[in-house]
Amino acid sequence: MIETIPTQLIAIGVGLAAVMAFIGLNGLVLVYLERKVAGFIQRRPGPYEVGPYGLLQPLADGLKLVGKQMFTPKGADAFLYWLAPIISIAPVLVCFLAVPFGPHVTIFKDMNVGLILILAFTGINVLALCLAGWASQNKYALLGAARDISQSVAYEIPLLLSVLPIIFMTGTFNLYEISMGQGSWPWQWHVATQPLAFVIFFICALAETNRAPFDLPEAESELTAGFHTEYSGMGFGVFFLAEYAYMIIACSVATVLFLGGWNGPLVSGWWWFLTKVYLLLLVMMWFRWTYPRVRFDQLLNLCWKWLIPLTVINLLITALVVAI
């Protein structure tokens, strides 16, 4: 029986299970980390009741979420309503295929379109949020979805333009090769030659993953919970998990493109990669607990008036230098 199943299919199954386990575990770790960081910044302990140092708190939260009733609001389009969280989490699994965690921990080494694949599949999340808002039959959800679309469409442009200089310099879309091309020390990484692109990429990543201060689609003070107002239990849980998974993807891409990937001083390896990713995630959390949420006009002004012109100038200068 087993001999008839192609080995590639088994590999894909195992890989998918591993990726899902990784996403789930990361969700737990990040929920705990987020609450602890919030606590430390506000000079309180954070969760500390459930388990030692509150370590079991995210597990308890998860169990609570799983135990909750999942209901469809009256008048909602049930099919689209439940399709939305699935569309939100499904593409992120594919994105992990292209991420080179280490020289030996990479699923596809010769994926020539790695970066394009990630950029294309992360864009699908916009559709999921749009569907969630539209199918909920709720004005707050619809407003949240409308905000998400205008925000994501706007920030996609500087995001792509900030990635292009690296492509010009390396001449490849293959994330494995981009990682290989960088040295062990920080001055050999692309962030040393493209600091502006790195800063802009990071700002855009914050906006694309709907992280504070750009968390307008789920602005709880104005829109109750934005696009996921109506979702209960794991409906909401899946959106939440997807958000954290997209954060990891965004930080992973930033690490590969600008921070040398798995390369690091002394010994290179996947631990360097994960350290850098988690450091960036910590910075994201630090931002969240420092800055108030921006207004919508401020958000769009920042994008159209500052980020796009700056990325275009940066791109032109890079193109000129590369051509010379």
């Binding site: 430390f40 910044i41 000079r43 309180r44 500390y48 630090w286 800055y291």
Partner: protein
């Protein structure tokens, strides 16, 4: 253009300052305790419901002059007080001003010396159920007769338990101190 650039630079700078503040706080020791396993000793600076301040010479008497400023300022209308006027000598007739010579005698008689008047609260109630703890009453009290109490552990079974007779409370506290 230059103005916008300057605004952007100062904006970015202020964001970095914000990051510095929260980053510093991250590494500083926590200021909260694990209640109820631990409690704090000093509750200085805690803003509980309002309380009357006693006179220095008589702990049973409040400093309140019943002017009604707190009552008028309170946005939640949770303060209720009535003044009692004492010592006003209505009989005393001041030497008439030359302009007042031709006035009817009843009007002249009603003039009392202002220094002789003593106003004090007859009752002073606080309905803490409605208080928003804005502190306007404490800030604006002209005689410094109001303070925030440090009652943290308030609990009760009915709303009536949070309606306070502050004068009775003051006397009770003075009594307790004496014992």
């Amino acid at each position: 253009m230059i103005k916008e650039l300057r605004e952007a630079v100062t904006g970015v700078w202020s964001m970095l300052v914000g990051l510095k503040i929260t980053g510093k706080n991250f590494f500083q020791p926590q200021v909260t305790v694990h209640y109820p396993r631990q409690t704090v000793e000093s509750l200085e600076g805690y803003r509980g419901h309002i309380d009357l301040v006693a006179k220095e010479e008589d702990p049973y008497e409040s400093k309140c002059i019943a002017c009604g400023t707190c009552y008028q300022l309170c946005p939640s209308s949770c303060i209720d007080l009535r003044a009692r006027q004492q010592g006003a000598k209505a009989q005393e007739i001041l030497p008439p001003h030359p302009d007042m010579v031709n006035m009817p005698i009843e009007l002249k008689k009603k003039v009392a010396h202002p220094e002789e008047m003593v106003r004090e609260p007859e009752y002073f109630y606080l309905d803490y159920n409605y208080c928003s703890l804005c502190g306007l009453c404490v800030q604006n009290c002209p005689s410094g007769a109001l303070k925030f109490s440090s009652d943290v552990y308030l609990a009760g079974y009915s709303r009536q338990e949070f309606e306070y007779d502050l004068l009775a409370r003051l006397r009770y506290q003075a009594q307790k101190k004496e014992k």
